[in-house]
Amino acid sequence: MVSPASAAEARPASLAALEVVPARQARRPVGLLTAGSIIAALLAVPLAFLLLESAHAGVGTVADEIFRPLTGMLLWNTVRLTAVVTVLCAVIGTGTAWLVERTDLPGRRFWAVLLIVPLAIPDFVVAFGWFSLSTWVSNFRGAVLIMTLAVYPLVYLPVAASLRAADPGQEEVARSLGVSRLRAFFRITLGQAKGAILGGCLLVTLVLLAEYGAFEMIGYQTFTTEIFTDLGLPTGVPTACGLSLLLVVISLVVLAGEASLGGRGRVSRSGPMAQRVAPPLRLGRGTVPALLGVGLLVLLALGVPVGECIFLIVQGGPPAITNSVSVSMLDAAWHTAAYGVCAAAVDTMLALPVAVLAIRHTGAARHFLERSTYLVLAMPGVVIALALTYFTEQDLRGFGYESTPLLIICYAIMFFPLALVGVKAAIARAPASLDDVARSLGHSRLAAFSRVTLRLAAPGLMAAFCLVFLSVITELTATLVLVPTGVQTLATQFWNYQSSGSNSQAAPFALVMIAVAALPSIVLGRFFNRTARAQG
């Protein structure tokens, strides 16, 4: 989960120099454009059906649903939470990234791993851990605490990568020009990381807009929880549609805002690729407070949810363990992993043609295709699931509803932008000139692509795969809507136990989910670490 902006930076400067003529091909890439258009059409399906369904319900009805006092309350809840959590995440994520990457904080490599592990803990598990610890953690204050702890790695990860890649010489130049250390930090270091910070904040905002499980658990009402409730009501269709449209508009505003703030900023490094490692800043007397701060963060974000789960299991005693570690858990784990692998494979393959178009070709078609994926970013999972539900109910007479392929398609649409970020970074690592050389040595276009580009892109494709896999495993909202009848995933089984108050039986599922998700998140961390190094 990195920002699109930081992925754009992931192109090694030395390789960029290889392309004097900006990637142009002998002929129009007809095959790629066709594939790209089909993918764009698939991504547009949810929005199209949401609009159709709203039109069907009648503009007046939908408008009535939007303009009522409840909407104002939901809007206020959503906006204040988003604003507070985004700012907190920006501060915490950037601060910890700076401590780990630029100072002599003891145990930096150890902290670097612990700080990203919360990425593997679903937001609703963080909420579960805190809420079962104390009911003080509810409403607005609870939502702020839980969401900040759950999503700050979305800022930490891209900012750390960008600080690692940025030229430390710039800070030294600033100091030599008479700028104080503090001002150099604000003007240069933060300037270098600006794109990454904004990109991370964008992801935080979008996650907050789409979150369901955590808010439902602690009783905090937002658009998404309300849409989910309406979805279950027989007469809820117009309300759900109206609120969904409003949510999409808010997301689009956020996306436009990020773009206008210069979120496309890049880290630029001139000169050859020899990377100089900056001598870490000495914290001196600040060491102890910094250690305490980072330690406290890890304790709250990682220790509390995991510890509480373990405590609940121990408290429940042997029956809880034998109950859950049974056929039902194996079955749920199997389904979860299978869905994850399928969706990740589909997304990685779908992202390939779009990424190749984006990196190696210019032109209006390419921009259109890239932008169209942004539309998906603005569609929270519940909205996509809702659109697909209506689609199968109304247009296919229920055919395909709650079927495995539909769930996979839903995941694939939801997480396509994530896959694209990873695949683009991967393709950028393989300069087009290498394919040219392979072709001049007698290989067809396809053979050159598979023998050179795909081989070089393999680690990045793996990262994209992991990113989608991780997201599917921890997905709850859309899964609850679309999961095939009689099937349980780790997330839905956890949710069922938790909703019925069987916390000690829910806890093992939470732990297994964390364990399954931790591996891909460590792979991801390593990949972005290396990308940043190769970039230097």
Binding site: V21, P431, S433, D436, V437, A438, R439, L441, R445
Partner: protein
């Protein structure tokens, strides 16, 4: 025998024309340089030759095979049999040196030929290394071996030395030239560096604004450039105004230094009056106007000789000597470049003189500047 023939080649990207009618014939076994400033379209020309792009109009013939042209099927790069050495070598980073060299070969051929090729580029025994373990010069030689492995009809070198350190560049250039010569390959080098083009190539084609403006041997290009702008592009140049005198007049510079002149002895018989005295015009000059016609004259810095005024013979100013003062002196060890401003402001701008050895001249020194050898002139 012609190995490569290009006629009327056009290429535009959108509304932006890049090549506007390129014609070029390259004989088999020759080492040809395509020299052009950045943006002149030289990389596009190379990519058209390699088949990475398709021409809008015109024909490319390699050997006796039309690879791009009207009516003929466009031949994709993998069937052109052209060796391509891109900038910075572009070695496959995930493959060993041996696997890089053998990339275009198949089966049994690969094993035997890889060692042979590595030896021919002086890298025997390094086959198991990875590209990042090699120096820039070694990488460049591996890239060349990889291109030569398929026994190409033509090798294209795209600014291959631009990324090398200055001290390494000369030796890698010599190596590459030697390897191509001994392989008997026809090679085309694209570069923006005129020293590189002049020193390596048998013939140099200068590409400007999408056309070949001159295609000549290096000496001809340097001494008889097609126009004043080209004169500047291929080296330091003094471009001074002159008036044609007509045939037969006595020439100052030429007469005084006939024995040491490094230009060709024959001359057109035309003579031109300049601030550097009366100079003989080389026969291939484009100045054909009548006596009294205004021309631009090219005098290369090494065609000028500088003497300190104090040391000049007591007879004072000789005919053809331009009095001036040194403005700046750039010392290079093997030679020095001296800029002299004429005392008489009407004599024009600063002239550049290249001296080999001799005393170090400090700014402000009073000197005489005198020209040797025939010059090139163009009608104005």
């Amino acid at each position: 025998m012609r190995q490569l023939s290009i006629t009327g080649l056009h290429k535009a990207f959108g509304a932006h024309p890049v090549l506007t009618g390129v014609d070029l014939d390259v004989p088999a076994g020759a080492f040809t340089a395509i020299l052009g400033p950045s943006g002149s379209g030289k990389t596009t020309l190379l990519r058209l030759l390699a088949g990475f792009e398709q021409a809008d109009a015109g024909t490319i013939t390699i050997g006796d095979r039309v690879v791009d042209g009207p009516g003929a099927a466009y031949v994709p790069p993998e069937r052109r049999h052209i060796g391509y050495v891109p900038q910075e070598g572009a070695l496959f980073p995930h493959l060993t040196v041996a696997a890089n060299v053998g990339f275009g070969l198949h089966g049994k051929e690969r094993r035997g030929r890889t060692d042979e090729l590595l030896e021919s580029v002086g890298l025997a025994g390094l086959g198991s290394r990875y590209p990042h373990q090699l120096s820039g010069g070694q990488q460049q030689r591996v890239a060349l071996a990889r291109a030569l492995a398929i026994k190409p009809d033509l090798v294209l070198l795209d600014e291959p030395f631009a990324s090398l350190d200055a001290h390494m560049r000369a030796s890698v250039r010599a190596d590459v030239q030697h390897i191509c010569l001994s392989a008997g390959t026809t090679a085309i080098l694209v570069t923006h560096d005129q020293d590189e083009a002049l020193s390596m190539a048998d013939r140099v084609a200068v590409l400007r604004d999408g056309r070949i403006v001159q295609y000549a041997a290096p000496q001809d290009l340097y001494m008889r450039p097609a126009d004043p702008a080209l004169a500047r592009f291929v080296g330091d140049a003094n471009l001074i105004d002159g008036l044609l005198v007509g045939a037969g007049g006595p020439a100052d510079g030429w007469q005084a230094h006939a024995d040491t002149a490094d230009g060709p002895r024959e001359h057109s018989g035309q003579v031109v009056d300049t601030v550097l005295g009366r100079l003989i015009i080389a026969p291939s000059s484009r100045a054909v106007g009548p006596a009294g016609g205004a021309v631009t004259v090219l005098v290369r810095p090494e065609q000028l000789e500088i003497t300190e005024r104090e040391l000049a013979s007591a007879g004072g100013r000789q005919p053809g000597c331009l009095p001036g003062r040194v403005v700046a002196c750039e010392y290079y060890g093997h030679d020095a470049v001296v800029r002299v401003r004429p005392d008489d402001a009407a004599a024009g701008q600063t002239v550049i003189v290249r001296t080999s050895g001799g005393p170090q001249l400090s700014p402000g020194s009073a000197v005489f500047v005198r020209a040797r050898g025939p010059v090139v002139a163009w009608d104005r």
